[in-house]
Point group: C2
Chain length 475, copies 2
Amino acid sequence: MENYRSQSPFSRFCLLPLIVVFTLQMDLSAQTSEKDADAAFIRKIYDRALTDGRCYPWLEHLSLRIGHRLSGSAGAEKAVQWTRSMLDTLALDSVWLQPVMVPHWVRGDAEQVRVSGSKKYGTFNLNALALGGSVGTPAGGVSAEVVEVKSWDELDKLNERGLRGKIVFYNRPMDPTKIRTFEAYGGSVDQRAYGASRAAKYGAVAVLVRSMTLRLDDFPHTGSLRYDSTFTLIPAAAISTMAAEKLSQVLKEEGKVTVFMKMNCQTLPDAPSYNVIGEIRGSERPGDVILVGGHLDSWDAGHGAHDDGAGCMQSMDVLRIFKRLGYRPRHTIRCVLFMNEENGLRGGKKYAEEAERKGEFHLAAIESDAGGFTPRGFSFDGDEAVFGKFFEKVSAYEPLLEPYGLKLTKGGSGADIGPLKGMKGLLSGYSPDSQRYFDLHHSADDTFDKVNKRELELGTASMAALVYLLDKYGL
Amino acid sequence: MENYRSQSPFSRFCLLPLIVVFTLQMDLSAQTSEKDADAAFIRKIYDRALTDGRCYPWLEHLSLRIGHRLSGSAGAEKAVQWTRSMLDTLALDSVWLQPVMVPHWVRGDAEQVRVSGSKKYGTFNLNALALGGSVGTPAGGVSAEVVEVKSWDELDKLNERGLRGKIVFYNRPMDPTKIRTFEAYGGSVDQRAYGASRAAKYGAVAVLVRSMTLRLDDFPHTGSLRYDSTFTLIPAAAISTMAAEKLSQVLKEEGKVTVFMKMNCQTLPDAPSYNVIGEIRGSERPGDVILVGGHLDSWDAGHGAHDDGAGCMQSMDVLRIFKRLGYRPRHTIRCVLFMNEENGLRGGKKYAEEAERKGEFHLAAIESDAGGFTPRGFSFDGDEAVFGKFFEKVSAYEPLLEPYGLKLTKGGSGADIGPLKGMKGLLSGYSPDSQRYFDLHHSADDTFDKVNKRELELGTASMAALVYLLDKYGL
C-alpha cells in the first residue's frame, strides 16, 4: 500500500481501474477455486461410481431374478416391492410408493403368424409379437391376403378398393443414414403407432409392421399402438426385420401372399400399481426438487435391461452415491421410478399431478431412458418462458463435464418427466451413445448380458455430476 | 453502382473499407460454399458407409473363415492372401504385397497352470495364456511357491532373498477410475512387459501376471513381453482376473501357495510375411501419400475381431468408398494392412524404411487400432517441428466433423505408423469409444459377435471423412 504515495497524478487517476481489476481478480480466483472444488467433487462422484457402484449388480437382480415387468403384471409388482426395499437400505430421508392405476394389457398365448401356401416356400412362420394394446384376432385366427406399403401415400392410394378384407404390411425401414438412431426411430415409428387404425379406416382386417430396428435379425420388437376409436379396432403385430424382408420378397416373387394370424391378447380392467420414490431432503430449499429417474415398467420380452432397468438402477445409485459421499444437498434430490411409461404414461401423469397438488416446485428433472450405454451428454428442454435463461446457465457447466465425454445440447428430455414441463423448471434427458439401443429395444434380446458394467456406471456418475451442479448453483 | 454518385464526401472517404468488406464477403461466401460442399461430400461418405458398407461382411469373413492370425502362422498367411484378393476387386490403381520377415513364436500345447495342494481348495487350475514371446517351462513343468506383488517397489524390497526360486505373481489391477481405458492400460501393462526380466534378476523361476482388463471374468489376456537378455529368460503367463483374485485370496488365507506351470511355447526362426497395400494414385501429387491402415496380425486367441480386424476392414472400405463415390484424390490414398504389430512391429518398420527409400512423403497417416466401437474422434501427433502448425490447420475441420460425434485432440497415433514420424507428416489415431475394448483385447473373447455393424461402419466413414479433408486441403 505504501507505493500509492509515490504515484504520479496519472497513476492516481488510474486507481479506480486498479481497484476494479483487483476486485475482479479476487472474484476470478474465487471462481477458479470454486471450479476446482466442483471438479474435485465431480471426480469423487466418478471414482465412487466406478469403484463402488451398485447399479450393475442391482440391474442383474432386476433382470435375472425379476425379469420383464409390463404394467399390471406380477413382474411389475415384484419390481415395485424390490426397488422399494433397496431404497429402504440407503438411509434416505423418505421412501414411498405413489399409487397409480395402470392399463393392464396381456399378451396371452404366443402369437401365430405364418405365410400359408406360398408356391415356392410353402407354409412358414414369421417371428412376431403383438403390438402393446392390440386386440386379439377372432378365436380361430384371421387369414387374408397381404398388401405391402411403405408410406401413408401408398396406403391412401390403395384405399378401400385395395385394402378391404386385407392384412396391411407396413414395411418402411428405419433410415440407417441417421447418425442418431432416435431420429431414425422417429421417422418410422408412426407406422407402429397409427398403422392399425389407418388401415382399419379402409376396411383392412389386421396389420403387420416391420420391427423398429436397424439390425437385420429375427427378433420382433413390440411397442404400443394408438387406436383411433372412430374405426374398427383390428389386431396388429410387429414382425422381425428378417421376416419382413422375406415376406416382401415372396410378395415380389409371387404377387399374392396369404397370411394367417392368431393372437389372443386383450386389455383387462386397469390395475393398481405404484411409482417408487425415494429422496434426500434439501437442507436449504426442501420444497424445490431435483428429480432423477427412469421407468420401472418394461415390455413383456427379454429383461427390459436397457429399457429401462438401466435408467432406474442408475437413478437409485445417484442417491446412494450422494449418501456415501456425505453430500448434503441444498435442494431435495429425489429418485423416481415411474410406472407405465411404455403403454399409458400413467405414472408420469400421476406424479406431476401430485407434485402440483403439493406445490412442489421441480427445479429440474433428469430422465435416463435411452439405455445404459457410454455417456455422450444431456439434452435439455423446458417451458419457453424460462428455457433460454436456464440453458445458458447450464451450458456454463460444460467445461466441468467435458473431461467425461459429455456435451450439453438442446433437445428432448423424457416421456415420464414431460408432464412436469408446465411447472417451468428444467427438463433433461440423459443421452448415452445411441448406436446399439434399437438393436435391443422392446425385444426379447434386451437382456442383462447386453449391458456393460462400466458404461452403466459412467451413466450413473454423469447424472450425479449434473445433479450436483444443479443443486449447488440452482437455476 | 449508381448510388455512388450521390454519396457525400464522407461516404466517398469510406469507399475503401466498403470495397474491403465487399471482397471479404465474397471470400467468406466462397468459403461458405466450400464448407457446404465439404459437408455434402462428408454426408455422402456416411450415407455410403451406412447403406453400402463392406467392412462388416469382410470382418465376418476374416473372423469366421480365417480366424486369428499371429505373425508367421497359417492364419496370417491366409489373411494376407485373402485381403490382397479383396483389394484386387476394388479397381484400385495398385495392390501389392510388401515382403517382411517376422518373428515366429508358437504357443504349443495349452498352458497348464494350477495351484497344487491348497489346504482349503485342494488342486485347481488357473485360466492362463503364455505371454507372447515367452520361453517355455522345462519339459516337466516348474513348481514353486508364489509371491504376490503389486508394485516394483515391493519386488525390489523382496529382492533375491524373497524371490530366488519363486514364481512372482504381478497383481496390480488396471485403474477403473480412468475414464479413458487406454490410460488404465498404460498404468498396468509394465507388469506384463517387464515383469519377467525384473523377476529373473532376483532369481525367480517364472512369472504370472494378472490379465490387462477391467472386467472380472475368466478369460486370460495375452500380449507381448520384453526380455532383458542380461537376465535368464523365464516363462511368463497371464492369468484371468478371476484366477488372479482367487490366487490372491488363497495366498491371504494360507500364506504359502505352490503353483505348477507347464508351457511349451517357443520362438522359431523368423518367417517370411507381408504388409498388404492398395492405393488410389493422386491426380496432382502422386508422391504425397495419405495412409489409412490397421494391423492384420492378431494374437492367437479369439478372432482378433476388434484387435485389429476392425481397423483393417475399415481401412480397405475407405478406399472402396472413394472409388464408389468416383472421388479422384489429389494425393495418393493408400491402405496399408501392417503385419506384426503385436509382437515385433516389423511391418511398420519395414514400411517406413521402404517409404524413405522411395522418397514417398507421407503427408498424413491414420491408424485404426483401438477397436470397432462408436467413433469419438481422432488424436493427432507429429514431429515437433511441424506439429503445431498442422494441428491448428486440422482443428479447423472440427465443425464439419462434430455432427458425427467427432472431436480432434492431441495425443498418440498408432504403433505401426510411429516409424513414419521422422518424415514430418501428420500422424493420427482413430479414437472410438474405449469402454469395452479391454474387455476383449488379446483374449479368446475378441470375437466377431462383439462387433456392432453400425459402430464399425461409422468408424469407416469417420476415417474417410478425415482423409477427404486432408486430401482436399493438404497441410
